[in-house]
Structures are given as C-alpha cells and as structure tokens.
C-alpha cells in the first residue's frame, strides 16, 4: 500500500474509533437515565444523533473494508452489526436488561481493542515504509 493511501486509511480508522466511542457514550447515557430517579427521557435531537452515529458507523465501515481484500477483512462486519443492531433507539436501550446491555458492552469493547490493534499494525507498516524510503535516500547518496 502507498504511504498516502496508508495515511488515509489510518485517518479513517482513527475517526472510526472516535465514532465508536460515541456509541459507548450513548449506551452510558441510556444507563444513566435508566437509573435516574426521575427517569428523564430522550429528546428527538438525542434520538436523531444516536441514529446518525449508527448510520455513520455502518457507512464508514464499508469505506474502511474497501481498502482490504474482501476475503480477509481485518474486522468482521457481522461482529460490528451485532453491537449496532440491538440498539434500535435510545428509548428502547433503556429497556434492555442489564445482562444483555453488559453483553453488548463487552462486544463493543472487544471491537474497540480490535480496531486499536489494526491501527497499530498500520502505523508499524507506515513506519517501515518511511524507514525504507529514508534508507534508499541515504544509500543513493553514497
């Protein structure tokens, strides 16, 4: 992979991770509201933002996967959908029982670590390319 393409991919995955964190922010928000005494409900704006975060995650995943061979994706599309799909809306996330929510959170965390690992691998790859090109510059000078 060319350095520029690699940089694009790294940037895409970094933003994806940040977006993935947003999903966790909403899960925590739902949990907070559920345990609150006055049981505040969600505004249409919050619901809409939650829906958009999920949509962006699904869309951006396809962009990221397009960089890799279809036979060997670095991350399973299905695993990501298993986290996103049960979270239909914030108001229904409140009603999910604690055990199921914990299961979703565990899966969220597993993917979060996987994404960080992919990012790490790509950064190593970029470092290697950079040091190779530096080496070729110096060897040419000799």
């Amino acid at each position: 992979m060319k350095t520029s393409k690699l940089d694009d991919l790294i940037s895409q995955i970094e933003i994806y991770i940040e977006n993935w964190k947003q999903l966790n922010h909403f899960i925590n928000l739902a949990r907070e509201r559920r345990s609150a005494q006055d049981k505040k409900y969600f505004s249409p704006e919050e619901e809409s933002q939650f829906l958009d975060v999920k949509s962006l995650l699904a869309q951006q995943l396809e962009c990221i996967l397009s960089y890799f061979p279809a036979e060997t994706p670095p991350i399973s599309r299905e695993e990501i959908f298993n986290v996103i799909t049960p979270l239909t809306a914030l108001r229904s996330t409140i009603e999910i029982n604690e055990a199921t929510l914990r299961g979703i959170e565990n899966q969220w965390h597993k993917i979060f670590i996987q994404l960080q690992s992919i990012l790490g691998q790509l950064k190593v790859q970029r470092q290697k390319i950079k040091s190779k090109s530096l080496f070729s510059i110096f060897s040419k000078k000799k």
Partner: protein, 95 residues
C-alpha cells in the same frame, strides 16, 4: 471570520429540512454522511471550515473544545472534535 459569513446566510433554514450528520477528517474531507445529496457542497464546506477552524483556534490558544454548538434561527450545529476532524450533527429548528 467565516462564522459571521455563515450567520448571514439566510438560506440555511431552507437547505436543511431533516436532521443529518457527517464525519470529516482533519483535512476537511467528508468520510461519511447521512445528509441528502440535495444539500449544496458549498454550504457543507462553510460549516466544515468554521468548525475545524474553531477547534484549531481553540487548541492554539491552549483550550480544548470537546464540543461546539452553533445555533442559528433555523438550524442547530453540534460538532464534536475527533482527532483533528469532527463529527457534525445538523438539526433543523422550528421557528
């Protein structure tokens, strides 16, 4: 600043009729979007430019903005910082 330019843009409330969001990288490239294609690129460019510049200026002044909210008469923009890029939510507001 471009922000004032955007404020004066009277067509904002006409352009956005449904909520939508998009993500941009640090260079201002859109990575994913839920906005309809009918939303003009120029309008999106103004928003991206202003949001990224706000985060950049804040950082240069030693401030870390996690979220920026810009509210016009007909539109609310919520932008969250993401590694130099941003997640931007646009919500039309009823007058």
């Amino acid at each position: 600043m471009g922000l004032t330019k955007a404020k004066k843009d009277q067509s904002i409330k006409l352009i956005i009729t449904k909520p939508g969001s998009f993500t941009v990288d640090a260079n201002g490239n859109i990575l994913s979007s839920t906005l309809p294609l009918s939303v003009p690129d120029k309008f999106i460019e103004i928003i991206i430019h202003n949001v990224l510049e706000t985060f950049l200026t804040a950082r240069a002044s030693g401030l870390i903005f996690e979220e920026v909210i810009i509210q016009f008469i007909g539109l609310k923009i919520v932008a969250r910082e993401m590694r130099g890029g941003a997640l931007i939510h646009l919500t039309p507001l009823k007058p």
